[in-house]
Symmetry: C2
Subunit: 183 residues, 2 copies
DNA sequence: CCTTATTAGTATCGACTCGCTACTATTGCA
DNA sequence: TGCAATAGTAGCGAGTCGATACTAATAAGG
């Protein structure tokens, strides 16, 4: 058994165990993952196609998942006027509380050695980056780490979308993000 | 966004992306994961309940998954005479080739810094261990790392099941495994 | 300006997983 | 011997999955 197979098995299993007992009342793993993404994404990145891209599934499947979440009252639809094809989703109050449930994975991490979690985060980030590059996938990083991000006073600015960013937004996820040179 | 949430998101996403394009001809992620487990498990650990335990699902679901795999010719059923409740599954030739398909996750790992993959494996193992302890889950480690494992000549021995082990078997996964003191 | 290509979202199909409950068969235990 | 525990399975309803096909809106090119 090679090391890469071992690591692949570990990631797969941890993800499954986490998903299995992460079933909150009436949310399945995919719905919870979509909800978690929406909670972190900025206002330009909350469309069905973005969530689908992020989670590696299709627009069709994600469209249904989001409709299910809406039906249950976790998110609300917001159609765009500028581009009438575009649909965005916002979390409701119910949705926000659902993303903050305690889970064994995070609890285990919080009692772990900080040096270990640091190197874990770095290794996983690098791994994902490599996989995405091979797959032409998007990074979905934070604005603050993006090539299009410009600091400014009083507000930061996105060169690509030509909009100024609230300070909270600089640490949200963007589907257009292109990682700046990383160590 | 806390670090533990970041790591949880990373693990979840890597697992999904890996599963998404790991769809071989007619195997879905769960079927592939079950097949991968069966390929690594020893002859005492290939029952539906063991696979279910390993993947964090239920006996009912796994029973169906295994029936699907059998129907497609990837595994074959093997009923026990000693305990007539017990059912075991073996991989067919078709099943063995299916577990050896190249995938972006392993390819990314193989081109990574060995020091990083070492620390990644260690961190993920520790994380899983901690989660399982909180959940009373089984470790599913290899015989060679088990408290019941005794070296011997010419064959190693399992103190719990009272059987001697082929050298190949000492590095297979066992559902009864109890990790020996780990660094 | 008008045609064509592209994009975003959705509905529908069949196969399957998911948790759940209920049931059978076998074994273990008192 | 009887009763509890265990292993596997069938069936239910909800939902994901890939695939395909469709509509509506926008973009691009002549």
């Amino acid at each position: 058994m090679t090391q890469s197979l071992k690591i692949r098995t570990l990631i797969n299993r941890i993800g499954r165990i986490d998903a299995a007992d992460g079933w909150s009342d009436d949310l399945n793993p995919t719905q919870l993952a979509a909800l978690g993404y929406l909670a972190q994404a900025n206002r330009f990145s909350r469309a069905p196609s973005h969530v689908a891209d992020f989670l590696g599934t299709t627009r069709g499947t994600m469209s249904q998942t989001l409709k299910a979440l809406e039906r249950k009252g976790y998110i609300s639809e917001l159609r765009s006027d500028a581009d009438k094809r575009y649909t965005s989703y916002d979390l409701t109050a119910k949705g926000r509380t659902a993303t903050r449930r305690p889970n064994p994975l995070e609890e285990a991490l919080q009692t772990s050695d900080p040096a270990m979690t640091d190197s874990l985060e770095h290794a996983l980030t690098t791994l994902l980056q490599t996989m995405l590059k091979a797959n032409m996938g998007r990074a979905f990083g934070q604005c603050i780490d993006c090539v299009h991000f410009k600091t400014g006073t009083p507000k930061a600015y996105c060169d690509l979308l030509s909009v100024s960013l609230e300070s909270k937004e600089t640490r949200q996820i963007c589907h257009e993000q292109k990682p700046r040179l990383v160590s």
